[in-house]
Amino acid sequence: MAERILTRNFHLPESHTLRVYRETGGYEGLSDVLAMAPATIIETVKRSNLRGLGGAGFPTGVKWGFIPKGHQGPVYLVINADEGEPGTFKDRYLLEKDPHGLIEGMIVSAHAIGSRLAFVYVRGEYVQPWRIFSRAVQEAYDAGFLGKSILGSGVDLDVVVHRGAGAYICGEETGLISSLEGKKGWPKLKPPFPAVRGAFGAPTIVNNVETICHVPHIVQRGASWFAALGTAGQGGTRMYSVSGRVARPGVYELPVSVTLRSLISEHAGGIANGRRLKAVVPGGSSAPILTADEIDVTMDVDGLKNAGTMAGSAGVIVMDESVSIPEALMIVARFYAHESCGQCTPCRESTGWIYKMTRRIVEGRGRKEELDTILDVARRGAGTTICAFYDGAVGPYISYIEKFRDEFEALIPK
C-alpha cells in the first residue's frame, strides 16, 4: 500500500481538531517554512510537478509565477471549495476530516504568492464541511496560526470563509471570482487572467482545496520526493472519488500512476453484484467516457489525455452493463442545460437543445438524423465560449454517442 499523504489522518477520531492535527505533526514545520523566501517555495512547487487537482490540471507553481513581478497592492489567494463536478466528493472529506491541513496549506501558499488575505469559497450545499472548516479557522486564529505575524514570523494571513449559493459555474475560477465579488456568477473574459487581474481587480490565485493541501508536504519533504510519487508529468498522489456500480465506492488516495483498472478492481472492490463493467467516466462528468476495454490507463493528467479523455477532478463514475448510456447522457445533458450560466450564446442555447434531443431519444421519439445533429452542434460550439463549461459538456455529448452509438440508434424509431 502506497503512502497516504492527505488522508493519513482520516481514520483518527477527531481528526478535524487542532489537537489531533498537532499531535500528528501538523503546523510543526510552519515556522521554518515561513522563514523561507517566497521564491524558493514557488520554485519547489514548480519542480514537484504538482498540478491543479480541481479539474484543469494546470501546473500550480507555474500559475503562481504569473503574478506580475513587482506588483504593489493586495494579492489574493482564493481556495476553490465549490466542488460541483458530478462524481467528485474529495474536497468535502478534506474540509471535514483535515481542515487544518488546508489551513496550513493556505498559510504556506499565501506566503509564497505574497497574499495577506485568503478566501475560501465553499459550495453552498456543503453545510457540514463549512461548519467544521469555519470552526477550524477559529481554532487557528485562537492558536496564532492565522492573523497578524503568524508564530512571530512577521507573515500575516486573514481567512474569509464564503459560502456559495448552489451554482456549478461558480466552481469555474472566474465565475467563482464574480460570485465572490457579489456579482452573478458569470465567468470573466480572459485575458486578463486572474493572476493579473482577479478578485476585486487584484492579482488572484485560485487553487483547489486538494492542491493546496499538498503544498506543506511538498515544501517540507522536497520537490523530488513528491515528483517521484507520480509520473513524468505529474507528481504526487491524488484523491480519487469512486462512485457508481462498484463494491466499495469512496475516496481513494493513490499515486497518480495508478491504472484505472487497478483503481476499480482492486481498490474499489470491483463491480458490484457480479455484473460486468460497461463504461467509466474517469474525471468527473465532463470527462469523455471510456469503454470497458479502455481502462488500462494511468490516472495522471497526461495518461488520461492520451487516452482521449481527461483526469479532470478525478471523479470516477463507474457504469455496469445494466446502465443505459442514452439515459446517462440525458441525465448529464440535463445537468449541463440546468447549470449553463447563460452568459454566452453557444452554451446557453445548445445545452438546452441537446438535452431536449437526448430526452426525446430516450423517450423513443428521436429522429434518425439527430445523433449527427447532436455531434455537429457539440463540435461547432466547442471552443467558442468564454469558459470551459461548454467544452466540458461536449466531452460526454460526443463520447457517449460515438462509443455507444448502437444503443442510441436502437431507441430511435425506424
Binding site: 440546468h338 449553463s340 447563460g342 452568459q343 453557444p346 438546452g352 461547432r380
Partner: protein, 534 residues
C-alpha cells in the same frame, strides 16, 4: 501604433483598438451583437469571431486588441462556420415572429441570418417560453422571448446612466432580461436601450406599431430640445400617410457624434418633436383676433407687416427674437432691426421653471440656439429695452407695437397679469411661430413658421459648435422658414440682398459676424464645427 494585416491588407491603428474597429477601418464588417463602442466589452454573443495568427481556435474580435504584426482573417471556412453556428444558436429559441414584430426591417437577426446564417433549421422542439409585452418603464417594453441576451441594455444602465435598473435573471436558456425588484426603467435616457437593442426585445412604446420601418425616410438633424445640440436622425413617413395617425415625423433617433452626444439622446429630446404634427400648428398668415380672425395670403400679409414697421417710430416697436430660431433666421432679423433702427431687441426670456441638467447630456437651457443669438447679437442695442422693459413700456403705452418670435411669455418666470396687460395695451402685436401657444390668441397678426424638420438651418450649441440640420418634410399650409418670412418683409422695406436660400443667409452671416468667419455649410459637414467664440 500597431500595424496589422486583416484579410491580406495592412492597416495601422491606434494602440488599444480592437479587431472589430481595426477591420472597420478597412471597410471589413465583422458581425456582432453584444459589442458596442460606447459600452464595456462583454464578449457574450460570440458572433465576432475571427482567425488570429496561429491560434488554433477563432478568437472574439471585440476582446482582441490589434497588435503589431498580427495576421487576422475574417473569412476562413472555420470563421464562416462558427458565424453560421452562432446564428443558429441565437435563433433556436427565438420566436421568429417577424411579421408581428416591430423590429422587422431593422433587426440584426434578420440581417445577419441573410448574411451569415442561411442554414436549414434543425430545431424541432418546443422553444423556451418567457415573458412577453412587459412594460419596463414609460417608454420601453420588453419581449423576453425575442431577446438574445447581449446585455447591451444592462450595461447601458450600469455604465452610462449609472442607474442599474436592469439585470439578467435565471440561468442557461431560461436567462432573461428584467428589472430589479422595485425598479422601473424610467431614467432620463431610458429609450436609448431600444436603439442599442439589436433585436425586437426592447421596443419603443411610443413608436411601435405606428409605421413599418421600411416606409420611413431619414434626414440628418440636430435636437432642438436643449443647448447641447445632440445629433439626431429624423425618421419620417410619407409613403403611408394614413399610418401613425397622419403624423409625418415617426421618431427621432440619436446620430453618433463623438464630440457632442456620442451615441445617445435623452428621452425628453427623443419625444420632444411632437409639436411638428400637432393640431396646434399655425398654418396660414392670419390677421385679426378670435371671431374676426381671417387667413390671408403672404401677398397681403407682407405689406401689412412692412407698413406697421414703417409707420411707427423705431422706439415704439419691440422685437423679441427667440433662441429657438436658427442662425440663418437671427441674422436676417438682426439686419432688419438695424435697417429700421429698432433698438428694443432681445431674445432672453427666463423660463417659468428652471430646466433640469445633468452630467451626461441634458442642459438646463432648453433652447437650441442661445449661443447663436448671443454671437449674432440679438441683445438690446444702445438705448434699447430688454424683453421685460418692453413689456413695461407697453403697459405704459410708450411701446406701441411688439413682434414676438416663438416665446410663450405666459410660461415665463414673469407674472401672467403683467404680460396680459402689456399685450392688451399694444396697438399691434405680431406673433411669429410654428404653434399656437398661451399668447398667440392675443396677436392680431400671426405669421406661421416652419419647424426645424421642415427646413434647413444651423444651431450653435452651448459650446459654440455650429451644427446643420436638414429638411425632412414640407412645411404645412403656407408656413415658411423664419428667415424667409423675414426676407420677404425685409425686401418690402428695402433691406436689399435678401437671401433666397438658408445657405445664402449663412454665407452673409459668415461674412458679417466674426465668430462665424470661415464657416460654410460644406465646412460644417454632418457633425458641425466650433465657431470662433474666443
Amino acid at each position: 501604433m500597431p500595424k496589422l494585416t486583416i484579410d491580406g491588407r495592412e492597416v495601422e491603428v491606434p494602440a488599444g483598438t480592437n479587431l472589430i474597429e481595426a477591420a472597420r477601418r478597412l471597410g471589413i464588417e465583422v458581425p456582432y451583437y453584444c459589442y458596442h463602442p460606447g459600452l464595456s466589452i462583454a464578449g457574450q454573443c460570440r458572433l465576432c469571431m475571427v482567425d488570429v495568427g496561429n491560434s488554433p481556435r477563432p478568437q472574439i474580435a471585440c476582446n482582441t486588441l490589434a497588435a503589431d504584426g498580427m495576421v487576422v482573417r475574417t473569412e476562413t471556412p472555420k470563421v464562416l462556420e462558427t458565424r453560421q453556428s452562432v446564428m443558429e444558436f441565437h435563433l433556436i429559441n427565438h420566436p421568429l415572429d417577424c411579421p408581428v414584430c416591430d423590429q422587422a426591417g431593422e433587426c440584426w437577426l434578420q440581417i445577419y441570418y441573410m448574411k451569415h446564417g442561411l442554414y436549414e433549421p434543425r430545431m424541432v422542439d418546443e422553444k423556451v417560453h418567457k415573458p412577453k409585452a412587459v412594460p419596463l418603464g414609460p417608454h420601453v417594453i420588453l419581449d423576453a422571448e425575442r431577446c438574445i441576451l447581449c446585455s447591451r441594455c444592462v450595461r447601458f444602465c450600469d455604465e452610462i446612466t449609472g442607474t442599474g435598473e436592469l439585470g439578467i435573471f435565471q440561468r442557461g436558456d431560461h436567462s432573461e432580461i428584467g428589472l430589479f425588484p422595485g425598479k422601473e426603467l424610467a431614467n432620463p435616457y431610458s429609450a436609448n436601450v431600444v436603439d442599442i437593442c439589436p433585436v425586437g426585445a426592447l421596443t419603443d412604446r411610443d413608436f411601435r406599431f405606428a409605421v413599418r420601418v421600411w416606409y420611413l425616410e431619414t434626414a440628418k438633424s440636430v435636437c432642438p430640445g436643449c443647448s447641447r445640440g445632440c445629433n439626431i436622425e429624423v425618421h419620417y413617413n410619407l409613403r403611408r400617410p394614413h399610418h401613425n395617425q397622419g403624423h409625418r415625423v415617426a421618431r427621432l433617433k440619436p446620430r453618433e457624434n463623438p464630440e457632442v452626444n456620442q451615441w445617445w439622446i435623452c428621452d425628453a429630446g427623443r419625444y420632444g418633436g411632437k409639436f411638428v404634427d400637432d393640431a396646434s400648428r399655425l398654418l396660414f398668415p392670419t390677421r385679426g383676433r378670435e371671431n374676426a380672425a381671417r387667413e390671408v395670403g403672404w401677398d397681403e400679409m407682407v405689406p401689412l407687416v412692412a407698413a406697421r414697421l414703417r409707420d411707427y417710430r423705431p422706439d415704439e416697436i419691440g422685437v423679441l427674437a427667440s433662441p429657438r430660431m436658427a442662425n440663418e433666421d437671427l441674422f436676417v432679423l438682426k439686419r432688419l432691426v438695424e435697417h429700421l433702427g429698432i433698438a428694443n431687441v432681445d431674445f432672453r426670456v427666463p423660463p417659468g421653471r428652471p430646466g433640469d441638467e445633468d452630467r451626461i447630456l441634458i442642459k438646463a437651457d432648453k433652447n437650441p440656439n442661445t449661443r447663436g443669438a448671443e454671437l449674432i447679437g440679438l441683445a438690446p442695442r444702445a438705448g434699447g429695452l430688454d424683453a421685460r422693459g418692453m413689456l413695461r413700456a407697453a403697459r405704459e403705452r410708450r411701446l406701441k407695437g411688439l413682434w414676438v418670435f416663438h416665446h410663450d411669455l405666459l410660461a415665463s418666470a414673469w407674472p401672467g397679469s403683467e404680460i396680459r396687460e402689456a399685450l392688451r395695451a399694444l396697438d399691434w402685436f405680431i406673433f411669429q411661430g410654428s404653434n399656437a401657444n398661451g399668447i398667440s390668441p392675443d396677436a392680431d397678426v400671426l405669421l406661421p413658421s416652419a419647424t426645424w424638420v421642415e427646413r434647413e438651418g444651423t444651431f450653435t450649441n452651448f459650446e459654440g459648435r455650429v451644427q446643420r440640420f436638414w429638411k425632412a418634410v414640407e412645411p404645412p399650409g403656407a408656413s415658411l422658414s423664419d428667415w424667409e418670412i423675414l426676407a420677404r418683409i425685409g425686401d418690402a422695406l428695402g433691406l436689399g440682398a435678401v437671401p433666397g436660400r438658408a445657405e445664402d443667409s449663412f454665407k452673409s452671416l459668415a461674412a458679417g459676424v466674426p465668430a462665424f468667419a470661415g464657416l460654410s455649410y460644406r465646412e460644417l459637414g454632418d457633425f458641425g464645427k466650433e465657431a470662433a467664440t474666443a
